[in-house]
């Protein structure tokens, strides 16, 4: 396996895009996410619809923009506002938001009483969780590009030759997985570490929690990319990016939303990104890994199933003489 791993690193200089992804794209995106997350002054941006009344309340954590007409719903989707608040009668307001129910209640209570509820921070997504949501999306999308040597070997017949040696397809995939994992994990961890230690930027997690969460995210991305590269022969990157974006949006990696549809909830609850975001948010809120045994078990289950299925598919294809 070490021979395969060494081979991957020897071939990296010839694959410029791997270096660009690992050394430029991933650090740049993470840096940008950290920067823009930090630049957000107010966690709550509210569009207040009223022709006469000024906003009845004021709080440093709430940024309210008064307007005469209701803004387009796309403003909520794009994250320009977290909620739209309309006065319906005296001291009664309707709140429209794509975030979850607890967030909606927090805003309702704030407008009705003028105070934020005591536990309002639990409904708030912190900088760290936002960063990890984006990192998970990037890792899922870029993982397959960092797995490129595997389909390359298949196309150039070197994979067939390797399979004629005592090395098994499973050992080959483990070595490839180690390469993909390290190319995803090391630059990501390094950039966050630099931001946290050198620039003293608060990223919401301690080093231990951050390491654990990044290991989970990159392991999931590695298993997913190996699975996709095993299943598909062509357009692997295109399909992987499409699936990653769609599932990350549905699972709330980029922003919280309340679907208000049981069917959609049922579908999104299957996705491994959902428990990852719950885990991140909880960890950022001060909880520990031991408080989330179900979420961790579920994500690890996904990692095992994806890796095992990818390995099984590869073995079957080798035995059938497809490669």
């Amino acid at each position: 396996m070490l021979t395969i791993l060494r081979n991957r690193f020897l071939r990296v200089p010839d694959k410029l895009y791997i270096i660009i992804i690992a050394v430029v794209i991933i650090p740049l995106v993470i840096g940008a996410v950290i920067y823009f997350s930090g630049a957000t002054q107010s966690p709550y941006k509210i569009a207040f619809i009223s022709k006469e009344d000024a906003p009845p309340v004021k709080h440093e954590l709430i940024q309210i923009e008064q307007m005469n007409e209701r803004p387009a719903m796309s403003a909520l989707v794009m994250g320009k506002y977290n909620a739209i608040v309309e006065a319906v009668e005296d001291q009664k307001y309707t709140v429209t938001t794509y975030k979850d129910e607890s967030f909606k209640k927090t805003i309702e209570e704030y407008f009705e009483t003028g105070k934020l509820p005591v536990n309002h921070t639990t409904a708030k997504r912190g900088i760290g969780t936002s960063i990890l949501g984006v990192i998970l999306l990037i890792a899922l999308m870029q993982g397959v590009a960092l797995t490129t040597f595997y389909p390359d070997d298949r196309n150039k017949s070197t994979f067939k030759r390797i399979m004629m040696s005592p090395l098994t397809s499973r050992q080959y995939l483990v070595a490839q997985g180690m390469f993909t994992f390290s190319c995803l994990f090391v630059p990501t961890y390094f950039v966050i570490l630099v931001m946290k230690i050198c620039f003293k930027i608060n990223i919401g997690f301690g080093l231990g929690a951050l390491t654990g969460l990044l290991i989970i995210a990159t392991a999931l991305a590695t298993a997913f990319s190996l699975f996709m590269a095993s299943v598909m022969n062509r357009n692997i990157s295109l399909a992987t990016s499409g699936i990653s974006i769609l599932t990350c949006l549905l699972a709330g990696c980029l922003f919280n939303y309340d679907s208000q549809s049981k069917w959609l909830d049922a579908v999104t609850n299957i996705l491994p990104q959902k428990p990852f975001m719950t885990l991140s948010q909880g960890m950022e809120g001060g909880q520990t890994f031991s408080d989330f045994p179900w979420q961790i078990g579920y994500i690890v289950g996904w990692i095992i199933v994806l890796w095992f299925e990818g390995s099984l598919i590869t073995k079957k294809k080798v035995q059938k003489g497809i490669y």
């Binding site: 081979n7 694959k15 030759r161």
Partner: protein
């Protein structure tokens, strides 16, 4: 002599198509077996089964005393495959290529350096070892393809058309390398479409067609199967006075055919009768412009047995 390969009643189907239909053969240590057959004959399927990447449907295969079904890893450790496609990494040096493939076998690190050097020397690439294959000619890439298969000193080397599309100089180098490997004790299965290569290096030749072995033996034995004869063709200036009967009566002649001043005479190869034919023609007042002779060759055998030319 030690038996290196033993195959009994080997069968492989792809759906309803029988790719290999119950073939049996053995190979002894140090032997070079030339494997011939038209496309779709079952050569590649047989090679893939021996390479352990394809499971047989029926039959028994033993390589270096190991059963294919029970001990595939032990077999992999003892074989080296030179695939038809160039299976090398263009982006790393020749030496790194050989080191990588040899490194997949359980070898000691100290031995590895020596084995890589030895393999590169054998194929004549020692002086280019620090260069990447993308700068190599087709022939050099083919030689590197071989070096990657032999560095771990396999007991059985399987070569699937290793000289496709290369210059004569590289081909000769490769054929010489194969002879050297045999001298060092390697047993070699050599599949090719080039008859002259088989004639040059193979101790024994096996011809496959439609999944079965249709002929097997030394070059001389196979030629004997097809009838060991010489065919003479004369382009006569005049043939009106020629009595075919007189030529037929020459001892050793097996067939005579005359059509439009074209005389074809078939004779037993061992008989030296050309002077007798020419004397008879002159006696009959016939002169000729051109004469050709053709002896039975492996190409003729192949054509006769399979009904196809080798490169069809």
């Amino acid at each position: 002599m030690k038996t290196i390969v033993s195959i009994r009643n080997l069968e492989k189907h792809y759906g309803p198509k029988r790719a290999v239909a119950g073939i049996s053969f053995t190979m002894t240590e140090g032997e070079i077996l030339g494997l011939l057959g038209p496309n779709g004959a079952g050569k590649s399927t047989t090679i893939n089964i021996l390479s352990t990447i394809l499971s047989p449907d029926k039959g028994e295969v033993e390589i270096v005393g190991h059963d294919l079904r029970k001990e595939p890893l032990a077999i992999k450790q003892n074989i080296g495959i030179v695939p038809q496609d160039l299976a090398i990494f263009e982006e790393i040096t020749a030496e790194q290529n050989v080191r990588f493939f040899a490194g997949l076998y359980k070898l000691k690190r100290d031995d590895l350096d020596e084995l890589v050097k030895e393999a590169l020397e054998l194929v004549g690439l020692e002086d280019r070892k620090k260069e990447k294959p993308k700068t190599f000619s087709g022939g050099m890439k083919r030689r590197l393809n071989i070096a990657c298969a032999i560095a771990h000193r396999p007991k059985l080397i399987i070569m699937d058309e290793p000289t496709v599309g290369i210059d004569p100089q590289s081909r000769n180098h490769i054929l010489e390398s194969i002879k050297t490997l045999r001298e060092k004790g390697a047993t070699i299965i050599y599949s090719t479409h080039y008859m002259e290569e088989v004639e040059a290096i193979a101790d024994r030749i096996m011809i496959m067609n439609e999944g079965v072995i249709i002929a097997e033996g030394t070059k001389e034995e196979l030629i004997q199967i097809a009838g060991n004869e010489t065919i003479y063709r004369f382009e006569l200036n005049n043939s009106q006075n020629l009595d075919e009967q007189r030529i037929s009566q020459i001892p050793g002649i097996t067939n005579v055919h005359l059509a439009e001043n074209q005389l074809t005479v078939q004779s037993e190869k061992s008989k030296s009768i050309l002077h007798a034919i020419i004397a008879t023609l002159f006696d009959n007042g016939c002169t000729f412009e051109k004469m050709t002779s053709k002896e039975t060759s492996l190409e003729t055998v192949f054509l006769e047995l399979t009904g196809k030319r080798l490169r069809d």
